[in-house]
């Protein structure tokens, strides 16, 4: 026995087993203690509350919602709003981050310094403060509905939100939407064909210009062919507020703005470090075989820089998804505000609701990270 204990391998194993047993016992103890306390204090538990009537209204519900719907539907509304804010946040912060990251490396002194100042300021202020700041700025800077800022009598902006006209769903609207989609897909294949042709014959094709041209011309032609019948639902002032059209709330605007401004700083830094990590020799080699500086960036530098930048950017996307939970501070109805906030309060079932909410964030994060890991894998240098 003692001899066996002196064997390093066996001893190591023994301690590992003991640790795991200790951990399991600890978790089991906490779990059973919680359950016992809940029972003893007569607190209701279980998931029945999900089918109970919510009894409150949610202003910005992406799906139909009224106070007679259930807490389960509240969960769904919150989840969809979280996904919307995450999706839009990722898109805009990527665009802004790319631009700022490239600006940061610009040869123009002013642009370079402005980008650096922007990054240094917004990266170093806690995101919650930024959200509250933008929200209160938005609310105070904008006029009341009766004095709305008015663009061509169709777009209105006031402290209740941004009001946009929306087109009715008729043949014209649908055809134009489809034509845009067709052009985008077409551009993708055009790019593929152009790359192939260039590899085979060395001839270049202006893909970007052609695609942009098509994106403008083809939908316009479709518009006239399909009857030229755009019919907008315009917002109009009725009673206290505007009715009709689509409204984007100040909460959503402030939250998206703050998240994008904040996350973009980190993405810009990732982009910059990616580009800087590509060795100077690569650029010189590209120049020596006669590539223009645009070609050198597109064909030599960026493909290598992206590989280096992807892992830190993945982290920032995940952070953005998690930071969206700070919406509770300004009352944008995402999952923490409505489900882990209002529903929790009305039903009092904190453990169940918080567990569900945590699971949601875990799932979103794991999915985003799985997608980007796959992308990362695909972009890696193929070593043979």
């Amino acid at each position: 026995m003692m001899r066996a204990l002196r064997n390093q391998k066996i001893r190591g194993m023994l301690f590992q087993v003991l640790t795991i047993l200790g951990l399991v016992a600890f978790l089991w103890y906490i779990g059973s203690n919680t359950m016992a306390n809940i029972e003893q204090r007569g607190i209701k538990s279980g998931f029945d509350f999900l089918s109970g009537t919510a009894g409150f209204e949610i202003d910005e519900a992406p799906i139909k919602f009224s106070s007679s719907d259930t807490h389960g539907r509240v969960f769904l509304v919150g989840l969809i709003n979280t996904l919307i804010i995450t999706f839009i946040g990722i898109i805009f912060s990527t665009i802004l981050g790319l631009i700022i990251g490239v600006f940061r490396l610009s040869n123009n002194w002013l642009i370079k310094k402005l980008a650096a100042a922007y990054i240094d300021i917004f990266r170093n202020i806690p995101i919650l403060l930024q959200i509250l700041f933008w929200y209160n700025v938005v609310l105070r800077a904008l006029p009341s509905p009766k004095q709305s800022i008015n663009f061509l009598d169709s777009i209105f902006m006031n402290n209740r939100g941004l009001y946009l006209p929306i087109p009715d769903l008729n043949t014209t609207t649908i055809s134009v939407c489809i034509s845009v989609l067709v052009v985008v897909v077409g551009a993708f294949f055009l790019n593929k064909w152009a790359n192939k042709r260039q590899e085979e014959t060395g001839k270049d094709f202006p893909v970007l210009l052609t695609s942009l041209g098509a994106l403008i011309i083809i939908p316009i032609i479709t518009y006239f062919i399909s009857g030229a019948n755009f019919n907008f639902d315009y917002p109009a002032l009725k009673g206290f507020n505007f009715r009709g059209g689509k409204v984007i709330s100040p909460e959503f605007l402030a939250l998206t703005f703050a998240l994008v401004i904040y996350t973009a700083t980190f993405i810009a830094e990732a982009v910059r470090s990616g580009i800087e990590a590509v060795s100077k020799g690569q650029k010189e080699a590209a120049a020596s075989i006669g590539l223009s500086s645009y070609q050198s960036l597109k064909l030599v530098v960026l493909p290598q820089a992206i590989r280096i930048a992807i892992p830190p950017v993945i982290n920032q996307y995940l952070n953005l998804a998690k930071n969206s939970s700070l919406a509770a501070a300004v009352g944008y109805p995402e999952i923490v505000t409505v489900f882990a906030g209002i529903s929790l309060n009305q039903t009092g079932q904190a453990i169940e609701i918080l567990a569900i909410t945590m699971l949601v964030y875990l799932t979103i994060s794991l999915i985003v990270s799985a997608i980007l890991n796959w992308f990362n894998h695909k972009m890696k240098i193929k070593e043979r």
Partner: protein, 336 residues
């Protein structure tokens, strides 16, 4: 690794130790009553200049400390928002919650609480800007309404607008301060809350005179102290501490005249002062527990007038909160 094993063993031992004595014993041992309040609500619980707490709810906490520990100052106040309050009480972080909390069936049952009494009979109202020209809640169709989340207010307003066939846009925040800030910035047309709170919040606005509280009251909001279910002794102490303040007002006992009443022959007064009967002992407290409450904190009427009454910025008249003998609802069961 051995370090980790030790740590987890230590953690196990630590969790195992947390035995559950009664709340009274815990409080006596700690020498302080941990009391959950709002902390930002004028008239109910507010931190005034100098860091002192002040308000009806605050005095509720002080009365508990006076009854149990003999010293109204032995209170540890814990500021809680509407979302945190129930978890704090359930988990034992606080001993009693006196945070303008509405007594409802769900809260009394499935949340595992007991409501002790009603220290303020309230109802939900609406505050609007005067220049809006609105005279009644029935004119609020289509309005944007600022609400504090996690309150009965949120449910009442949904019910009310639905029953009247009107629509509204709900704009909700989890702190009262943000609700007020957004209302002030014009994010919403209407601020809705318990009427007493509206008066309190209005005192915080820069242009107080430009806001009115509409006459309609759309709900019953009996606000009161809350304790955990399953500790009847503590529940009784809380209930009779509050009752003693109401009974004292009815018997004409105030913090000023209480010492001179010690020589009174009136058995009712003598029982409240602890000179007759075994009221204190029945609760596990000193015989003079009610004396300490009234001497150090005051009777219900004194507490009301000092914090929210007509001579305070809130200017609220007794209304439903008058004694039953004066047409109100405040009524203590017999103190015998």
């Amino acid at each position: 690794m051995t370090k980790f094993t030790k740590l987890s063993l230590a953690a196990l031992a630590f969790v195992g130790m947390s035995a559950t004595a009664g709340t009274l014993q815990d409080v006596q041992k700690a020498g302080v009553v941990k009391c959950g309040v709002d902390g930002g609500l004028p008239g109910f619980s507010e931190i005034v200049s100098g860091g002192e707490y002040k308000g009806i709810d605050v005095d509720g906490c002080r009365a508990m400390a006076a009854a149990v520990l003999g010293d109204a100052k032995k209170v540890k106040f814990v500021n809680l928002n509407s979302k945190e309050r129930f978890a704090a009480l359930q988990s034992g972080e606080i001993d009693i919650l006196v945070r303008n909390t509405t007594w409802t069936e769900t809260r009394d049952t499935s949340l595992g609480f007991n409501f002790v009494a009603v220290n303020y009979y309230d109802g939900q109202g609406f505050m609007v800007r005067k220049d809006l020209g609105v005279k009644s809640t029935l004119e609020l169709d289509g309005a944007a309404v600022c609400i504090q989340t996690g309150t009965t207010t949120e449910l009442n307003v949904a019910d009310y607008f639905k029953s009247k066939g009107m629509k509204y846009k709900s704009v909700s925040y989890d702190s009262n301060d943000q609700v007020l800030a957004s209302y002030e910035a014009g994010r919403c047309d209407v601020l809705t809350s318990d009427a007493s709170q509206l008066y309190g919040l209005r005192t915080k606005l820069k242009d107080k005179a430009n806001h009115i509280v509409l006459p309609e009251i759309i709900s019953k909001e009996p606000l009161g102290p809350v304790v955990r279910q399953g500790d009847d002794q503590w529940f009784n102490i809380a209930r009779w501490t509050f009752n003693s303040m109401v009974a004292a007002e009815e018997a004409g006992i105030t913090s000023k005249n209480i010492d001179s009443l010690k020589s009174s022959k009136n058995p009712g007064i003598r029982r409240i002062l602890g000179l007759e009967g075994k009221m204190g002992a029945n609760l596990g407290l000193n015989a003079d527990f009610a004396y300490q409450v009234i001497k150090q904190v005051g009777n219900y009427g004194e507490v009301f007038e000092r914090n929210v009454g007509v001579n305070t910025p809130l200017k609220i008249s007794r209304g439903l909160n008058a004694l039953w003998t004066e047409g109100g609802l405040q009524y203590s069961p017999p103190f015998r």
